[in-house]
Amino acid sequence: MSKRFLGLLLVLPALAVIVLLFIVPLAASVVGAFEVEGGHGFGNFVKSVELYRGDTIFTVLIVSLSTLLIGLFSIAIGGYLTLGENPRAVAILRWLYRWPMFIPFIVVGQILRTFLAKNGLMNNLLISAGVITPMQATAFLDWRGIVIAFVWKQVPFVALLVAGAMASIDRGTIEAARNLGASRLRILIEIVVPQVATTLLVGLILSFVTMMSVLSVPLMINAQSPTMLTADIAFRINAYGDYGVANALGLISLVITSGVAWIYLRHTMKERA
């Protein structure tokens, strides 16, 4: 037995797992997206665009807005952990901010459903505090609820990455700016964030992809129209057994996330050049 053959044999199990569990199902659903009655065509895509154009835009807007807010909050948290001058406040924040990371999306949906409902905890608190009257109370269980759920769940993850990157930059670069008279906000924006930009971008892209694939949150908080593509995919399969349109919607999601990944790749290529 040649050495070459032995080497091939050694990677075979791993290769088989990738092919069987990843490439084959992906290819099947890509092919499935083009399968229409009696052959192949773009029928599923035409149907998807007709029925779910609004939901596609809704999904992209919600996820983009959430990504933006996640970026802002995680910069704020990481910035305070790095530049904060009150050691006790920094310690409390460091202890607190990670908790949502360990809560599953479905539980996040459940918590926020009771919290944001018309007679939920948030409105009850606001009413008893006299901020709003019972007549003004409205449910947040629409796009706002989804954004709140996504941001609440994903900020700790990105903040963890960003705070780690911020902690490892040369403290001298921060002190040099302070020495020249930069305020803490300027140091954060002009000195710290540019040095952790790549990490921030990676965290945000991972969050974007994660949010694109979450089903439980839109189902729990906002299952009526417009809703997110994941809920539509589940609906096509569960209600109609319509795998063709579901596959087409899946492919559209994949194209959107690929677009984001492409932005990331282009950025890192430029940085290396």
Binding site: G172, T173, R178, N179, A182
Partner: protein, 385 residues
Amino acid sequence: MTTESFLELGGVSAGYGASRVLDGIDLGIAKGEFVALLGASGCGKTTLLRAIAGFVSPNAGSIRVAGRDVTRLPPDKRGMALVFQSYALWPHMTVAQNIGYGLKLKRQPRAEIARRVGEMEKLLGLDGLGDRKPAQLSGGQRQRVALGRALAIDPEILLLDEPLSNLDARIRLTVRHEIRALQKRLGITAVHVTHDREEAMVMADRIVILDAGRIAQQGTPEAVYNRPASAFVAAFMGAENRVELWGQPSSGRFEIESGPANAACAVPLEGRPLARGFVEARFRAEAAQLLAVTAGDAPPAGTLEFSGRIESVSYPGGLWRHAVRVGDDVVLVDAGMAFAAGEAVKVRIPSQVLFLFNAPAASSPAPTRSRQGGDKSRSLEASEA
């Protein structure tokens, strides 16, 4: 100490947690003076610099600039600029942006910033590099950008935290002179932290030697080099050879008794507070003379003479370096010609290069210490260092 201090430290103490890093530092620095803070790692020199800069707040004491108390002021309100050991250049900004950032913070007009940055680039020999990022520069260029960034805001005091320690040994020698020349030209007050004795000697008007958070000695380079105030300073300034002797002061002279390896000798006391008892004699390898034992003439008055035996010879360049066994100690002595290993020799040390300090135990004689014996292990360590 200068009569008119521009930067004045009074009883500055600082520490992290329970450990005390600085212990009552009093120091006055005149306008335009270049002062080097010299010491081994962990002596508190960087903490002292950071306290002056405003990054460490002292537990006690005051820091004044031109009569103004700046002890509690933030770093940017002190009229000082710090050059960091790591240079701490902002990697995402170009050279011009790095140098101009301080001016941008001061809301200077764009044209004025460009003019000042151009001036700095010219001053520091960075012409044509304005659009480069720090990663595209050599170590020496980065160091100059860091210097330019600090000088661009026209500070009254320039603080340098081991700015040369990350440079190649060869570049370091020229940069020393460049920084010194620049400081003289600008007439700026500078405080320079270093652990490199030669660097401090070459650059500074005054050297402040720190030991365990206190000032061990301060003075001009030649004063500290030629008249060390303590055994620590002598050793730090290169007098690594250490031999124990016994002697007593007598009418303006210190009479050294003859020992197993040395002849009796009297050296001028010159105001040194030496007491009767054991003394630690320290001298530099290049300050001693090595003679063949057959050389018949007697040593000149005031010159200490040891008899010893060559243990080994090496050639570090210029002079031959000999390890000579003298009694229980081994000392290093340089000579223009090589002696053979095993050869019996005489080591002569003129009084002006022989530093004597009362051994720590001299005031309360330890019973274990015999007059002839020395602290063998310690002196070996010192001479090999």
